[in-house]
C-alpha cells in the first residue's frame, strides 16, 4: 500500500532525535574513556588471574558424574540412551543400504547425474572422482561419512522446513528465532561439539546432533525468507479465486518459495558435510577420522588421500543439490535464457535416460549377486608421492636457495613482524581495563549504548573465564589473517567487478575453494608451512578468500551503471571513480564482506588449534581429545562465542552506519 508509506510530518521528526546523544550514552562514553586512562596510568597489564570464576571445575565434575551414571541414571536409561540407540540404528541402517548396492552403481550414477545437471565434462570428472575414492581404498569410510551426513541432513530438513514455515506464519516467533539463528551462525562449528561431548561422550550420536544443529540455520532462514518473498499479487490472485489458506500454501506459496528452500537445503548439506568431517574429533568416524589421524602423525600423504575424497564428495553433493534446485526450474527462467540451454540439453537427456535405466537394473542385480565391495585389484595409492613432494617442499621451498625467499622466511616474517607484536600489544601492551574501555567506545560509536554495554560485559566475561590471554592470542591471529585476506581479496574483487573476463576466470577457482570443508584445507597448508600458528593463518586466508572476493565484487557491481557513467562524464579517471564514487557507495557491502571474512577466519583459526595454532583453539581441541580437559574447553568455547559475537556485532554496526539514509 503505497499510501501508508507516505511520511507524515511526524515521521520526519524522529530522525534528528536519534542523532542526539542520550545522557546515558554520554555517561557511558565518559566511563569508558576513564577506563582507558586509568588502565594506562595504573599499567595493570593482563586480566587478574584471581578473578577467574573457575567454571571448569564444576563442568569437569558434571562430566565425571555423567560418565559414572551413563548406565544407571534415568536421564540416560529413559531418555538419552534410547534416543542414542535410535539415531545410531538409523545411521547403521542407511549405511547398510548404501553398502548393499554394487560398487559400480556409484560412479555411474554420479557421472550421469552431473552430466544431467552440469554437462559432459562435469559428468566425466564426477565418474573419475568417485572411482578415485574407491581406488585409494576409502570406500567404506566414504559410506560412513555419507550415512552420518544423510541422516543429519534429513533431520535438519525435517526440523528446519517446518520451523521456517512457523517463522513465516508467526512474526513473534520469527522475532525470537532470527536472532537465535544469527547467533548460531556466528559460532564456529568446532564449538558445537563441546556441549554434546559433555552430554553424550565420544561417538557418532553427539556428532550427529551437533551436525543437525549446526546445519539447521540456512534451511530455516531461507524457508522463512522464501515464503515471505512470494509476490503479493500471486497470493492475492490465489485468494481471489477462493483458495483456502491451505490451498494457497500448498499450491502457490511453497512452490513459489521452492528455489529459496532448495538453496537453503544446499547450504544445509554443505554445512553438514563440513561438520561431519570436523566431528571426527569426537569419533564420528568416516573420512574425517582418516584425515585427523594422518594429520596427528603429520602424514600428509594419507591426509591428502582422505582429504581429496572429502573434497570430491563435497563437490559432487554441492553440484547435485544446486542442480536439483535449477533443474526443477527448467524453462522457468527469463525469456532469454530459456530455450537455447534446453535444446542443447535435450540430446544429452535422451542419452542419459536409457543408461540411467540400465544402471538401476544393474543396481538391483548387482546388489542381489553381491558386488558390493570395491574390487581389490583396483587399488593405487598416491600418498607416497605426496609425501615425497612434501619432503621436497620442506627441503627446497622452505628457503629457496638460501636466498631469504620461501615459506620459512614468510612464516618468520608474519610471526615476527605481525602476529607476535600484535599479540603482545593486545594481551599486555594495552592494559585490560583500557581494552574494555576501547571495546565499549567502539560499540557506542558503531551502534549505541546497547552494543557498547554488551561488548563491555562480553570482554569482562572473557576475563572472568580466565581466557583473556588466550583470547587475545586468537584475536591477534584473526586480525592478521583478516588483514592479509583483505589485502589480497579486495584488489581481486575490484578487478573482477571491472572485468567480466577476469570474473569468469577466477569464479571456478573460488567456487572450488569454497566447497572444500574447512578442516581439509589444513592438509595442503601444513605441506608447505609445517605446524605452528602460520599454517592456521594461511589456511584461514585461503578459507575466507572466496567470500571476500565475492562480496567485494558484488558490492561494487551493485553501484548502478548510470552512476559510473555520470562519474565518467565529469572526466573522472578510473582511479578517481573507484576511490570517490564506487568504494564509498559500496562501503556497506564491503563492510559486510569484512564481517564475513572475520567470521570465516575465526572459525578456521580455532580449528587450526589442531596444527599448533595455540590460543582458544588449542584448548578446544584438547577438550575433545582428553576427557579431563572438557571444563577448560567449555570455557574456551564460551570465550570463542563471545569473541565471535563482539566482532560480528561491531562490524555489522559499522556496516549499518555506512549505509546512506534510506529514502523517505
Amino acid at each position: 500500500m503505497s499510501q501508508t508509506v507516505a511520511a507524515g510530518p511526524g515521521a520526519g521528526a524522529g530522525a534528528p532525535a536519534s542523532r542526539r546523544r542520550s545522557p546515558f550514552a554520554v555517561g557511558l562514553a565518559a566511563a569508558a574513556f576513564a577506563l582507558v586512562i586509568v588502565g594506562f596510568v595504573a599499567s595493570v597489564g593482563a586480566f587478574p588471574e584471581s578473578w577467574n570464576l573457575g567454571l571448569a571445575d564444576p563442568i569437569d565434575r558434571t562430566r565425571r558424574w555423567l560418565i559414572n551414571n551413563q548406565t544407571s541414571h534415568w536421564l540416560y536409561t529413559v531418555l538419552l540412551n534410547p534416543l542414542t540407540d535410535l539415531a545410531d540404528a538409523g545411521i547403521r541402517r542407511l549405511e547398510a543400504i548404501l553398502r548393499w548396492f554394487p560398487w559400480y552403481v556409484y560412479p555411474v550414477f554420479c557421472g550421469l547425474g552431473l552430466w544431467r545437471v552440469r554437462g559432459r565434462v562435469a559428468g566425466a570428472l564426477g565418474f573419475c572422482g568417485v572411482v578415485l575414492i574407491g581406488i585409494t581404498d576409502l570406500w567404506q569410510q566414504g559410506f560412513a561419512t555419507l550415512a552420518l551426513m544423510g541422516v543429519a541432513v534429513f533431520l535438519s530438513l525435517l526440523a528446519g522446513i517446518p520451523l521456517g514455515i512457523a517463522a513465516w506464519r508467526n512474526d513473534r516467533f520469527a522475532g525470537v528465532l532470527r536472532p537465535t539463528l544469527d547467533a548460531m551462525q556466528t559460532m564456529p562449528g568446532f564449538v558445537y561439539l563441546i556441549p554434546f561431548v559433555l552430554l553424550f561422550g565420544i561417538g557418532r550420536v553427539p556428532a550427529l546432533i551437533a551436525t543437525v544443529i549446526f546445519a539447521l540455520p540456512p534451511v530455516v532462514r531461507l524457508t522463512d525468507v522464501g515464503l515471505r518473498n512470494v509476490p503479493g499479487p500471486m497470493v492475492e490472485a490465489s485468494e481471489m479465486f477462493g483458495a483456502t489458506d491451505r490451498q494457497t500454501l500448498r499450491l502457490v506459496r511453497i512452490p513459489a518459495a521452492r528455489p529459496a528452500i532448495l538453496a537453503g537445503a544446499n547450504q544445509t548439506t554443505m554445512l553438514a558435510m563440513s561438520m561431519v568431517v570436523i566431528a571426527a574429533f569426537i569419533g564420528s568416524g568416516g573420512l574425517g577420522q582418516d584425515v585427523l589421524r594422518a594429520m596427528r602423525d603429520i602424514d600428509v600423504g594419507e591426509a591428502s588421500e582422505a582429504g581429496v575424497a572429502i573434497v570430491i564428495m563435497a563437490i559432487i553433493l554441492d553440484r547435485f543439490t544446486r542442480g536439483i534446485a535449477t533443474l526443477g526450474g527448467r524453462g522457468r527462467g527469463s525469456r532469454t535464457n530459456g530455450h537455447a540451454g534446453d535444446s542443447l540439453r535435450a540430446a544429452d537427456t535422451r542419452a542419459i535416460r536409457p543408461i540411467m535405466a540400465a544402471t538401476a537394473l544393474g543396481a538391483l542385480v548387482g546388489g542381489i549377486v553381491g558386488h558390493n565391495t570395491f574390487p581389490e585389484w583396483l587399488r593405487w595409492h598416491y600418498a607416497p608421492y605426496i609425501n615425497d613432494i612434501t619432503a621436497w617442499a620442506r627441503d627446497n621451498l622452505y628457503d629457496i636457495g638460501n636466498s631469504g625467499i620461501g615459506t620459512g622466511p614468510l612464516s618468520d616474517f608474519i610471526t615476527v613482524y605481525m602476529v607476535t607484536p600484535l599479540r603482545e600489544l593486545l594481551s599486555s601492551g594495552i592494559p585490560w581495563p583500557a581494552m574494555i574501555g576501547l571495546g565499549v567506545l567502539g560499540g557506542l560509536l558503531a551502534r549505541g549504548v546497547t552494543l557498547g554495554l554488551g561488548i563491555g560485559v562480553a570482554l569482562l566475561g572473557i576475563g572472568w573465564l580466565g581466557m583473556w590471554e588466550l583470547s587475545m592470542d586468537t584475536l591477534a591471529q584473526t586480525l592478521v589473517a583478516v588483514a592479509v585476506t583483505l589485502a589480497i581479496a579486495v584488489p581481486l574483487g575490484i578487478q573482477a567487478s571491472h572485468s567480466n573476463r577476469f570474473q569468469k576466470l577466477i569464479d571456478p577457482v573460488l567456487d572450488f575453494l569454497q566447497t572444500i570443508p574447512s578442516f581439509v584445507l589444513l592438509v595442503p597448508v601444513i605441506t608447505l608451512f609445517h605446524v605452528g600458528r602460520i599454517p592456521g593463518i594461511i589456511a584461514s586466508v585461503v578459507y575466507a578468500l572466496p567470500a571476500a572476493v565475492h562480496y567485494t565484487d558484488l558490492g561494487l557491481r551493485r553501484v548502478p551503471a548510470e552512476v559510473h557513467e555520470a562519474a565518467t562524464s565529469f572526466g573522472a579517471t578510473r582511479w578517481q571513480r573507484l576511490r570517490r564514487v564506487e568504494l564509498p557507495l559500496a562501503a556497506p557491502e564491503l563492510m559486510l564482506a569484512v564481517n564475513q571474512v572475520i567470521m570465516l577466519v575465526l572459525a578456521m583459526v580455532v580449528i587450526a588449534g589442531l596444527v599448533g595454532g595455540g590460543g582458544l583453539g588449542l584448548e578446544t581441541v584438547n577438550a575433545l581429545r582428553r576427557s579431563d580437559a572438557v571444563g577448560r574447553g567449555f570455557e574456551a568455547g564460551i570465550a570463542i562465542v563471545l569473541l565471535a559475537g563482539i566482532l560480528d556485532r561491531l562490524t555489522r554496526g559499522v556496516a549499518d552506519r555506512l549505509r546512506p539514509p534510506a529514502a523517505a
Partner: protein, 366 residues
C-alpha cells in the same frame, strides 16, 4: 443519476446499450457509503474527514490514512464501470474492498446479491470461486506453473478434475489468442501475452463480475492499445459486469460505459464518458478532459441522435457502433450530411450530426 442529468450543451444523447436493456438491468455490484481507513483511530479520522479536513491533516492528527472516503455507486449487469484516478487516490484500495481482499472500515457492499460484510469465510470463498475474478496490474501469475495450470488454477481450487480443467483452460486460452502457449511458463512470454494469461485465468471460472486493477499499465503503449481493443471486442461478446481501475484517462474513455473520477479517496464525478467530457464537475476533472483526444476515444454512437422520422438515404456515409468519432470526421467535414451509425447487422441505430460533434469538440477546447 447520469441518465437524468440535464444537458447544458443541448446535445441529445442516446444511452449506449452494451448490456442488457436499461429497464431490465439489475444491479450486480452495489457499494453504499464505503470507507477504508488505515490506522487505529478510525472514528476520529472519519469525523475529521466528514468535516472536510484534508488527508494530510487527518494523518497528522490521528495517524490514520483515509484511503477511501464515503464512496457509493452501483454497477449494472453487463456494464463496464471504470474508476479513474491518479496514484494514491485510493482506487486500488477501493477495488480490493469490493472483492474483500482488504477489509472495508465502514459501508455496505453487495456483490451478486450477497452482502459481503455478513459473508462467512466459506461464503466469501464460494462467492469468489463462482462469481468474481480479478486481473492484476503486475499479472500475479504463478511462475512455477505452466500457462495452462495458471489458467486452470481457479478450477483447481474448486476441485475440478485435471482433464476437465485443462480442457477448459485450453479453450479459454484459444479465445485470448494464446493457443500453442499452454505448456510454456509465464516468464517465457512477453508482457502483453502474460496479461492475456491473466485475463484467461480470470475468464476460465466464468465469473459474473470481473475486476481489473490497472491491468494494462505495465504494458507498452502499442500493446496496451491492442489489449484495450481486444477487451472491448471480448466484452461485446461476453457481456460481463466489469469494474476497471486505471490511471489513464484515455483508457477510461475507450472502455467505459460509466466513469468515476477518484481524487483523495472520494469520487469527484461519476458519469458517462460524454458527460465527463462535456460537463466536468470541477477544475480537477476538467484538467483531465483538456488533454483527452476526444475524437479518438469517444465512440460514434455516444453523440448520435435517434433516427426518428428521418429517411435514411443509401448514399449517406456509414460507420459502425463501435467506431470512434474520428472515423466519421472526414465525412462530416466534407459532405455536410449526417453519418449513419449502424449496428453489427448494418441496421441504422442513429444519426451523427455535424453540429453536435462540433459542439462537443469546441467544448473540449475551452
Amino acid at each position: 443519476m447520469d441518465q437524468t442529468s440535464p444537458d447544458p450543451a443541448g446535445i441529445p444523447t442516446v444511452q449506449k446499450m452494451t448490456g442488457a436493456d436499461a429497464d431490465a438491468a439489475e444491479t450486480t455490484v452495489s457499494v453504499t457509503g464505503l470507507w477504508k481507513i488505515f490506522g487505529r483511530k478510525v472514528d476520529a479520522a472519519r469525523e475529521l474527514a466528514e468535516s472536510g479536513a484534508e488527508r494530510d491533516r487527518i494523518q497528522a492528527e490521528t495517524g490514520c490514512l483515509v484511503a477511501v472516503q464515503d464512496v457509493s455507486f452501483q454497477v449494472e449487469a453487463g456494464e463496464t464501470f471504470v474508476v479513474m484516478g491518479l496514484s494514491g487516490s485510493g482506487k486500488s484500495t477501493l477495488v480490493r474492498c469490493i472483492s474483500r481482499l482488504v477489509e472495508p472500515t465502514f459501508g455496505d457492499i453487495e456483490v451478486c446479491g450477497t452482502v459481503l460484510a455478513d459473508a462467512s469465510d466459506t461464503a466469501l470463498r464460494e462467492l469468489r470461486r463462482s462469481k468474481m475474478a480479478m486481473v492484476f496490474q503486475h499479472f500475479g501469475l504463478f511462475g512455477h506453473r505452466r500457462v495452462v495450470d495458471n489458467v486452470a488454477y481457479g478450477l483447481e481450487v474448486q476441485g475440478v478434475a485435471r482433464d476437465e480443467r485443462h480442457q477448459r483452460a485450453r479453450e479459454v486460452l484459444a479465445t485470448v489468442g494464446l493457443d500453442g502457449w499452454a505448456d510454456h511458463y509465464p516468464q517465457q512470454l512477453s508482457g502483453g501475452m502474460q496479461q492475456r494469461v491473466g485475463l484467461a485465468r480470470a475468464l476460465a471460472v466464468e465469473p459474473e463480475v470481473l475486476f481489473f486493477d490497472e491491468p494494462f499499465s505495465a504494458l507498452d503503449p502499442l500493446i496496451r492499445r491492442d489489449m484495450q481493443d481486444e477487451l472491448v471486442a471480448l466484452q461485446l461478446e461476453l457481456q460481463r459486469t466489469i469494474v476497471f481501475i486505471t490511471h489513464d484517462f484515455a483508457e477510461a474513455l475507450r472502455l467505459a460505459d460509466r466513469i468515476a473520477i477518484m481524487r483523495d479517496g472520494a469520487f469527484a464525478q461519476v458519469g458517462t464518458p460524454l458527460e465527463i467530457l462535456t460537463q466536468p464537475a470541477d477544475d480537477y476533472v476538467r484538467a483531465f478532459t483538456q488533454d483527452a483526444p476526444i475524437a479518438k476515444v469517444l465512440p460514434a454512437c455516444s453523440l448520435m441522435r435517434p433516427v426518428g422520422d428521418v429517411a435514411v438515404e443509401e448514399s449517406w456515409p456509414r460507420t459502425t457502433e463501435t467506431a470512434t468519432l474520428e472515423s466519421a470526421l472526414p465525412f462530416l467535414l466534407s459532405l455536410h450530411r449526417p453519418v449513419v451509425v449502424c449496428d453489427a447487422e448494418g441496421d441504422p441505430l442513429g444519426l451523427l450530426h455535424q453540429d453536435d460533434v462540433a459542439a462537443v469538440l469546441e467544448q473540449n477546447l475551452r
